[in-house]
């Protein structure tokens, strides 16, 4: 059978949910809004599941992989340039779709409990469904332009959701910041697309891959430029150096949004984009090196900031930036499967961390400062245990999910040669830092005594704890599908799209050794956190005061926001203010008004001399004029002129 998988339904169901809730939601009863918002992602998830049967060998096998479905009509048809509405389902997009719709569905369910007391939840759910629509378009897109549509769309949904509480200035500003910073990245993406178009004449991924495999000698040069431009786009969306600044601020949005968009799915779009265009990066060692270095640097940089943050969500935000750095490190050493593997496990445990943090915030009545929490493990047992699973997972505790995925990336970096060993060491240090700040968060939140007297923590409703439990299970066992040589079943599954990398037969001993080192790094992080934070003590404060310089640098996030503000924001604002006030307002608009007025007044000054108001002078002019006309008509001009020797060619009728 040539069975269509009805891929178009995957994005369009959430879009229908967006339209229904967005247009009618205000008038619909709350239960109906919730039902619509939940059923649409559920439908998408069901379709993705049924589509995945063909890939897993359970259902009817697919006629071809990748499975392509496109609209009969072209989207753009201009000369030699063709773009179709085509959706491509292969192993890579299937993994992404499972994550997006699966985790997305869980977070939708969680949101029902979290947003229960919120006004305008119809708006929230409409945006959330809109996000799913664009994200699935991004992942399914068969060409760069359609991907860009999804890319921009998720940016829009992110903006809307960060600024969901738009009455708060900080939330509105954070949304704006995210949007503007993403524009810079999108500029790189656009230039990359232009370069693709100029050199390949097409934006369809499969065509570009075919052209490249037909020209095996083509490396570097313009490919490096294209890859780097695309990577600029990825740094914007995936919050890498130097464009990461928007993600920590994006925590102004509701916590489930932070979990879904700013941890599990949207911010991984850059990693997905690089994996999708990996054939391009494979041809440019230089671009790959840049990706790896930026990734490792971001991982370390964000982890150090995360060490000293006191807002529970900000710790997680910097942790997200740091983990995304790992994924880019994986991409940069051409271990795309490992990067996607870490993307998947990260989406489990980071969504879980955020949702658990949301549950804590919910229970604490909106408090986000960890210094006011503590002792929550008896009052919120489900949240405590699921959070523990997530913390162990991200810290790389043996046989939890990130143990497998992070080690795969570190191992790939180690064996990649060149500066690989340096990158590996940076990754290892980051692993220790990660473990430290996560256990710090865990101790501060759940251990000791409650340090706030206003809060009355209570466990969250089942609609919130249910998703927590499912994600906890996934965080614990999710890594096992990547167990074995070359990432085990997961690596084999992705091999047709992403290829097999770092095939090192007989290197198992080395790999286990590296894992042991990574676990050791995690254990050190845990031990330090345990020393400082398991009991209430002044030792952490003492350390902070004795190293006041570095500590202040970290607390102020390396002053990056201030530097950007000084270097870019203020000059641009001053320039645009200058243009608005002086060039546009004074010079153009004011000048135009003065010019028009001046012309009118000049004309008036000349013409008003005729308007003496003296009736008789008007009449005299009239009479004189009439007399002059008469003279002109009656005088025999031709004869007169001929008299002084001028001949006028005048036709006279005799």
């Amino acid at each position: 059978m040539n069975g269509s998988l009805h891929l178009w339904l995957i994005p369009l169901l959430p879009f229908a949910g967006f339209l229904l809730n967005g247009i009618l939601g205000r008038k619909l009863p709350k239960a109906l809004v919730t039902a619509i918002a939940l059923l649409m992602p559920l439908g998408s998830f069901a379709i993705v599941l049924s589509a995945s049967r063909g890939f897993l060998g359970i259902g009817p096998p697919l006629a071809s992989v990748p499975h392509i479905e496109s609209l009969d009509y072209p989207w753009i048809n201009a000369g030699l340039f063709h773009v179709d509405f085509s959706f491509v389902l292969d192993q890579l997009s299937l993994v992404m779709l499972l994550i997006i719709t699966g985790v997305g569905l869980l977070i939708h369910i969680y949101s029902v409990g979290y947003m229960e007391h919120e006004d305008g939840s119809w708006r929230y759910f409409a945006y959330l469904n809109l996000f799913l629509f664009f994200m699935t378009v991004l992942v399914l897109a068969g060409n760069a332009l359609l991907m860009f549509v999804g890319w921009e769309g998720v940016g829009l949904a992110s903006y809307l959701l960060i600024g969901f509480w738009f009455q708060k200035t900080s939330a509105a500003d954070a949304g704006k910041k995210a949007f503007v910073v993403n524009r810079i990245g999108d500029f790189g993406f656009l230039i990359g697309m232009f370069l693709l178009l100029a050199n390949f004449g097409t934006l369809t991924f499969s065509d570009i891959a075919a052209t490249l495999s037909a020209n095996p000698a083509w490396t570097g040069g313009v490919l490096t430029a294209t890859a780097l431009c695309l990577f600029v786009g990825a740094t914007g969306k995936s919050a890498q150096l130097p464009l990461y600044v928007w993600l920590p601020d994006a925590m102004e949005g509701p916590t489930p949004v932070s979990a879904l968009i700013h941890a599990a799915t949207m911010v991984t779009a850059g990693v997905y984009m690089i994996a999708r265009t990996h054939f391009l990066f494979d041809r440019s060692p230089y671009a790959l090196g840049v990706v790896a270095i930026i990734g490792a640097a971001t991982a370390l940089f964000a982890a150090t900031i995360g060490l000293v943050q006191t807002d529970i969500k900000r710790v997680l935000a910097y942790s997200t930036v740091s983990q995304l750095g790992y994924m880019f490190l994986g991409c940069g050493v051409a271990a795309y499967s490992a990067a996607i593997f870490h993307l998947m496990t990260h989406s489990f445990f980071k969504a879980l961390l955020f949702l658990a943090a949301g549950s804590v915030i919910h229970g604490m009545g909106g408090e986000q400062d960890m210094r006011k929490m503590g002792g929550l493990r008896e009052r919120m047992p489900v949240t405590y245990w699921t959070m523990t699973a997530a913390v162990l997972a991200i810290a790389g505790f043996p046989f939890f999910s990130a143990f497998f995925s992070k080690d795969a990336i570190l191992y790939a970096a180690f064996v990649s040669g060149g500066i690989g060993k340096v990158l590996w060491f940076v990754g290892l240090v980051t692993a220790a830092l990660t473990s430290f700040y996560m256990f710090r968060l865990w101790y501060l939140t759940f251990w000791g005594e409650l340090r706030s007297h206003e809060a009355h923590p209570h466990e969250s409703p089942w609609s919130m704890t249910g998703p927590l439990a499912i994600l906890a299970v996934l965080s614990v066992v999710g890594g096992w599908i990547g167990f074995g040589g070359n990432l085990g079943p997961f690596g084999r599954f992705l091999a047709p799209t992403l290829g097999v990398h770092n095939t090192e037969a007989g290197a198992a001993g080395l790999e286990w050794g590296m894992s042991a080192l990574a676990v050791l790094a995690g254990a050190i992080g845990w031990y330090v956190a345990h020393r400082f934070y398991s009991q209430p003590s002044e030792s952490a404060t003492k350390l902070a005061t004795s190293f006041a310089g570095p500590y202040n640098l970290l607390v102020h996030k390396y002053y990056v926001d201030e530097i950007y503000s000084f270097l870019f924001v203020k000059p641009v604002l001053a320039l645009s203010r200058f243009f608005l006030e002086w060039v546009v307002d004074v010079a153009i608009l004011g000048g135009l008004a003065w010019l028009l007025g001046g012309i009118a007044m000049l004309c008036g000054a000349i013409l008003q001399r005729w308007q003496s108001g003296n009736l008789r002078s008007y009449a005299a002019w009239l009479a004189l004029g009439a007399a002059a006309l008469l003279l002109f008509v009656l005088l025999p001009w031709t004869l007169l002129l001929a008299g002084i020797g001028i001949h006028v060619g005048m036709v006279t009728h005799q």
Binding site: Q611, G613, L615, R616, A619, A620, A623
Partner: protein, 111 residues
């Protein structure tokens, strides 16, 4: 001599004389319009110009044996009558308001 005079009487008045008379009347009207200060006199000068034109219309109509010119004269007289009615009414209104008919004084609309 006598017969010459009688002959002269029997002859038609030449066309040129009528036209000259018309031109003279018209110029009188213009001059009157330009130099007179009293609004009524100005008004009468306008009437004079109209009738000067009427005269030349009739002259040409007689010369060319065309009745159109005479019909035109009726039109002009009709318009002149209507104009006189409206104009005199305005003059009376102006006089009531300003107690003067000197055209130079009626200059409220001037800047």
């Amino acid at each position: 001599m006598n017969s010459n005079y009688a002959q002269l009487l029997q002859q038609d008045v030449p066309l040129t004389w009528y036209l000259l008379l018309s031109a003279v009347l018209f110029c009188l009207g213009i001059v009157g319009f330009l130099i007179k200060r009293n609004l009524i006199t100005v008004f009468m000068s306008i009437e004079l110009m109209l009738n000067a034109v009427n005269l030349s219309f009739v002259t040409f109509a007689h010369q060319w044996h065309a009745v159109k010119g005479q019909i035109f004269v009726f039109f002009v007289m009709m318009v002149a009558a209507a104009e006189a009615a409206v104009g005199l009414a305005i003059i009376i209104a102006v006089f009531r308001a300003r107690a003067t008919l000197a055209v130079d004084r009626i200059d409220l609309m001037k800047l």
